[in-house]
């Protein structure tokens, strides 16, 4: 795996506020990385640092072989960026805007205009941008970010304002690009959407990287319980089944459902006990900790650490 983005010991201070503190990570080819954190956790600052829009207070960054802080930009022909609140010159039409950005990247204009159809802008692309809704501007923003064959894509809150159908299309496009070897870094609040798609998650809190890894790795690290939900027939409303372990939290949810918080390594054992007891277990659901829960866990952990 070849690395496309190196961030080493980067700190960015605005006066006394440190927006990013000693962040280090490397992003490789073909990775789809989710960058998550509260507002003000340093996600946008990290992307701006990678683009050379701001310079790090200390530490160094390399993107596609360039040092963006020194104003090097040769690699940016293969870089796509979608800012958080994307805006365009209101007097130009969508097509004119896309053609302008295509020329800057030395991409054939005809091919660039096809992207407008791919993001579903179609007929609206002949209208001026100042008539666009937020969702349409976001589509145009995506179209320009996808120009050329980007090897690195930095997407800041890319799915805000997109309707569910386009979100699906968007994630399909992103997944295809990642499969073709592009590095995709996307920040988002829509954690449930990212859960199935991101191969790797970086969690930021107050400028500090608090977790970094695949969702499975984070689950192992967090040691959050997996919830096993069983539908059991013939139990009194507040009664727990006899086989329920004394050392795990069990609770009754409603009429028939028993929920057990199982430590990761006890999942199988508990399932065995439930079925072996011969009690009438009618249905089983196993819910691993979601990205939402992992996120909350790592934030709590980093707040408790000095």
């Amino acid at each position: 795996m070849t690395a496309t983005v190196h961030v080493s010991d980067v700190t960015k201070a605005y006066g006394r506020i440190r927006a990013v503190r000693d962040a280090s990570f490397t992003l490789g080819q073909g990775e789809l990385v989710a960058l998550i954190g509260h507002n003000g956790a340093g996600k946008t600052t990290l992307m701006k640092l990678m683009l050379g829009l701001i310079r790090p207070t200390s530490g160094s960054i390399e993107v596609l072989g360039d040092n963006p802080a020194a104003g090097e930009f040769a690699g940016r022909r293969q870089l796509g960026y979608l800012p958080e609140n994307v805006s365009f010159d209101p007097a130009l039409t969508g097509r004119e805007t896309q053609a302008f950005y295509a020329r800057l990247k030395r991409e054939p204009v005809a091919k660039a205009l096809e992207l407008l159809d791919a993001v579903g802008l179609g007929a609206a692309s002949r209208r001026r941008v100042n008539t666009y809704s937020k969702g349409m501007r976001q589509r145009l923003g995506l179209a320009q970010a996808l120009l050329g064959q980007p090897r690195v894509l930095l997407l800041d809150e890319p799915t805000t304002g997109l309707d569910p159908e386009l979100r699906q299309t968007f994630y399909d496009i992103i997944a295809r690009l990642a499969a073709a070897g592009a590095t995709v870094l996307l920040s988002s609040h829509a954690l449930t959407e990212l859960e199935e798609r991101a191969g790797r998650v970086i969690i930021m809190n107050r400028g500090i990287k608090v977790a970094d890894g695949s969702i499975d790795e984070l689950r192992r690290l967090a040691r959050l319980p997996t919830r096993i939900r069983l539908r059991v027939a013939g139990l009194a409303p507040s009664e727990l089944p006899g086989w329920a372990p004394k050392d795990a939290t069990c609770r009754r949810l409603n009429g028939h459902i028993v929920e057990i918080d199982a430590a990761p390594e006890r999942k199988i054992e508990l399932l065995h006990r439930a079925t072996a007891a011969g009690n009438s277990v009618e249905d089983v659901d196993v819910v691993p900790p979601t990205l939402d829960e992992l996120y909350a866990h790592f934030l709590r952990q980093s707040e408790q650490a000095p």
């Binding site: 829009l53 930009f73 022909r77 960026y81 010159d89 020329r103």
Partner: protein, 275 residues
């Protein structure tokens, strides 16, 4: 290449926003009214009409062209930053100085187009009404148009410098209005007052020259009112024209440095900005 792409977009936008139309119509309208009304005091006998037009048009230029130039340029950097379009533009493979230079060429083209067409209308109107226009006058007129564009370039560059330094658009607009008042109106009045008070005791010709050169509008005025003998007689500047040691090349160099220096400083300020 990048520079030309930016310049083409600026021109495109200026046409779309009707900037080009507005500036051209304004300059043409004023040039035409000066051409026909301005000949009233001199009458039509024995005076070459175009020379009179040059005198009145160059006085008009000093007020108007800097104003138009500052209007289009004060917003160029800070405006795009506030609207958020700069963020995206700078994520493309383009250097910041290329953005600035491209904008400069685009804005200069708009200004040059408006000036040439607007003032050209005056010559066209004179020729159409049957006035004699000789080669000398035409040359002086061409020089006037050329130096007007150069004056515009200087103020576009000054506008960029302001735009690259300030924190918001309102401040940029305020500073530009202040600069316009200072350089176009107040400076000359203050200079006259000082000269009248001083009675030539401590301000030598060299100091006066330096003072004149430190304002681009004065350099422009000297080029047009003293540079051509046939014009300077009407401008009432014949006396000054003979005594001043400021030659056309010196004056042109001054205007050119008033363009290049602010432009260079704007590029430096812009390249250090964080956004």
């Amino acid at each position: 290449m990048n520079v030309l792409i930016i310049a083409a977009k600026e021109i495109h936008q200026a046409i779309r926003n009707r900037w080009v139309l507005a500036a051209t119509l304004l300059l043409a309208g004023l040039a035409l009214s000066l051409t026909f009304l301005g000949s009233a005091p001199t009458g039509n006998v024995g005076v070459r009409a175009l020379d009179v037009v040059i005198v009145s048009l160059s006085s008009l230029t000093i007020f108007l062209v800097p104003l138009i130039a500052l209007l289009i340029s004060h917003d160029a950097i800070i405006g795009e930053m506030e609207r958020g379009t700069m963020l995206l533009l700078l994520s493309y493979p383009i250097a910041r100085w290329q953005v600035l230079l491209g904008k400069f060429l685009g804005h200069l083209a708009v200004l040059g187009f408006a000036t040439c067409l607007g003032y050209g209308a005056a010559v066209g109107a004179l020729a159409a009404t049957g006035s004699d226009i000789d080669g000398d006058s035409l040359l002086a007129f061409a020089a006037m148009v050329g130096s007007s564009v150069l004056l515009g370039a200087a103020f576009v560059a000054i506008g960029y410098l302001v735009s690259a330094l300030v924190r918001d658009r309102g401040t940029a607009a305020g500073i530009c209005v202040g600069l316009w008042l200072l350089l176009v109106l107040i400076y000359d009045m203050a200079l006259l007052g000082v000269l009248a008070l001083d009675q030539g005791r401590s301000i030598s010709a060299t100091v006066l020259n330096a003072l004149l050169l430190s304002n681009p509008t004065d350099a422009y005025r000297l080029i047009n009112l003293t540079g051509f003998a046939n014009v300077s007689t009407f401008a009432g500047m014949a006396g000054l024209a003979q005594s001043t040691s400021l030659t056309i090349p010196v004056l042109l160099t001054t205007l050119l440095s008033w363009t290049l220096l602010p432009l260079g400083l704007a590029a430096v300020a812009f390249s250090r900005r964080e956004l």
